[in-house]
């Protein structure tokens, strides 16, 4: 099992009020899954993804990543785990505006610091080709369409060959046609690379690509079913 989530609770302090974003979520995520987390705004989708991505730690409960309890890791260890095992795709793409598409992807490998310059270029070139951005690789984010930017973000997430890719509303800023293309691309990459994908969405057209749908409501998993 790649990920095990056991009775995870996350509460935030908002002023004097305590907000319970997740109320005892338990789930397992196997290698190679292509799963969607759905639910209305405020249901806890982003909170769950942040916890699974080691960006945050639960108030109670355990999250095991490849049997390692992330709650027992230091900030630095979680940073290394993210660096080596987890890819992120953000709603607003979050590309570095001063770098070209190619450089944005290569940067993820550079952070890892495990590859030579030649290896980095080769791997970047390969993933850029896979996401269909060969012609746009020299362009900066401002010169790319939303769909192209998200392809760059996907390439950046996948170039370091992570075990898990987390995508928070990856299609929210895209038109429906582009959104479908992006999810189809993610699905293809999931199939080809056997990389586990977990993405949040509230778009029904995107949802239908998922092989497993987790429905969150009021911080709890209301439904968990395969498609």
């Amino acid at each position: 099992m790649l990920l095990q989530c056991q009775n995870v609770v996350k509460t935030y302090q908002q002023g004097t009020q305590e907000v319970r974003a997740l109320r005892g979520v338990s789930l397992n995520l196997a290698e190679g899954e292509f799963a969607a987390v759905v639910g209305p705004s405020g249901s806890g989708k982003s909170t769950l993804l942040n916890l699974l991505g080691c960006l945050d730690i639960p108030t109670s409960g355990d999250i095991l990543f490849e049997t390692r309890a992330i709650t027992r890791l230091s900030d630095n260890q979680r940073s290394i785990l993210r660096n080596e095992k987890i890819g992120f795709i953000f709603q607003n793409f979050q590309l570095i505006p001063v770098l070209s598409a190619f450089e944005n992807v290569e940067f993820a490998l550079q952070i890892q610091g495990r590859f030579s310059a030649a290896e980095r270029r080769e791997q970047t070139q390969s993933i850029i080709k896979e996401v269909g951005l060969e012609d746009a690789r020299r362009r900066r984010p401002s010169e790319l369409s939303g769909g192209q930017q998200q392809r760059v973000a996907i390439a950046r997430a996948l170039v370091k060959k992570p075990r898990l890719v987390l995508a928070d509303e990856p299609t929210a800023n895209l038109d429906s046609k582009t959104a479908e293309d992006i999810v189809a691309l993610m699905l293809r990459l999931n199939t080809e690379h056997q990389t586990t994908f977990l993405f949040s969405t509230h778009d029904n057209r995107v949802m239908r690509y998922a092989r497993r749908i987790l429905t969150l409501k009021d911080g709890q998993i209301e439904e968990d079913h395969g498609v």
């Binding site: 991505g53 979050q94 770098l99 450089e103 940067f107 952070i111």
Partner: protein, 409 residues
Amino acid sequence: MIFKIAFRNLFRNVRRSLLTAGAVWIAVFILIFTGAFLKGFEESTVAVQIKTDTGLLRVAARNYFSQENEWSLDQTLKKEAEDFLQTFAEQFPRDKADPRVTFRADISDGQFTTRVRGVGINPDHFFQTFKMALTQGSLKASAESGNIPLWMGAALAKDFGAKAGDYFTLTARTRHGSYTANTFILQGIVEGGNPVVDFLSVYLPLAEAQTLLDMSAEITEIVVSGERRKKSRAFESWAAEHFPQLDRQNWVEESRPIREINTVRRKVIRILLGGILLIALSGIANTMLMACFERKKEIGMMKALGLSSSGLVSLILIEGVLIGILGAGLGFATAWPVVLWLEVHGINFGRFLEGSTSAAVSMASQIFFFPTAWLALRAFLTGVVVASLATLYPAWKFAKTHPLEALRG
């Protein structure tokens, strides 16, 4: 890649980058300008003092220098002076030694009287050794029959409204203490750029001075001049070996008061410069902080991808260093031609000194800047270091920001 991002970040908001670099620019410009000025101030003042008055070494009777300010004529040289001048000419044929009588006197044009420093010299020899500009009259001692020639500093002549050919009366005390006076004709007006010369000195033939002061063939000092300052050591050791009974004072000792005053000036200016650098530092820190706030989500993304805190600190620091290099480079590029020009042409402070002789004594009227490679390098590095230090706080602050908090913006 970190360097590439930092470099390109400079162009994200060019105006802001330039404004930030501008603080370093101004600081480096001021550092180079004031540094070259202060060094030039000292060098010009010392150079003009050597060139127009003290030479490289002065030799006098025992205890003369310790009582010089009392204008005593008790410690004089006669036989030793003759021996010194003769053997010096044999030992150093290319260098010069001038016998001199220096005394306190009052000079009057019949209407006004003022206190001056009288100097008895061998005019033909003295004016060849000490390069002073003749603004009026002649440097030749051949005055009209019956008249004793006198040369006067330009500023003093201006105070009197004097011109060549005017008559002056010089009143002094002989070496025995009795009053003495004589009338002289103004043979020439000289300008040395040295306030001691220009404001305070009158020159008369040595023999006339000795007669006036009842000094027979005695002198008060010998002034030794050479082409290079380094030679003063050779002169001094030679004099110490051959004339150990005489006192010596080299140009370094002569210029000590100037350097001490300059040290005080330098300290005051350093405090002011420290203030300017602090203002620049806080300005840069503030701007970098704003830039980081604007890129908070980007920083969050980098941290989410696993960029270490040290990597993030490096990114922001490199940006600060680049801004420092840009600002320091601009500061150098603009200040250097200015100080090089002023090294050749100088700034004439003469007109600011008019009427304030006491304040003027410690400086040359024409200050030539003295830029050095070390000064430029030090100013440049200071600019870069200030910009880097200013970036440390934003770098540290954002390096410890939680990625999730940063991603929320």
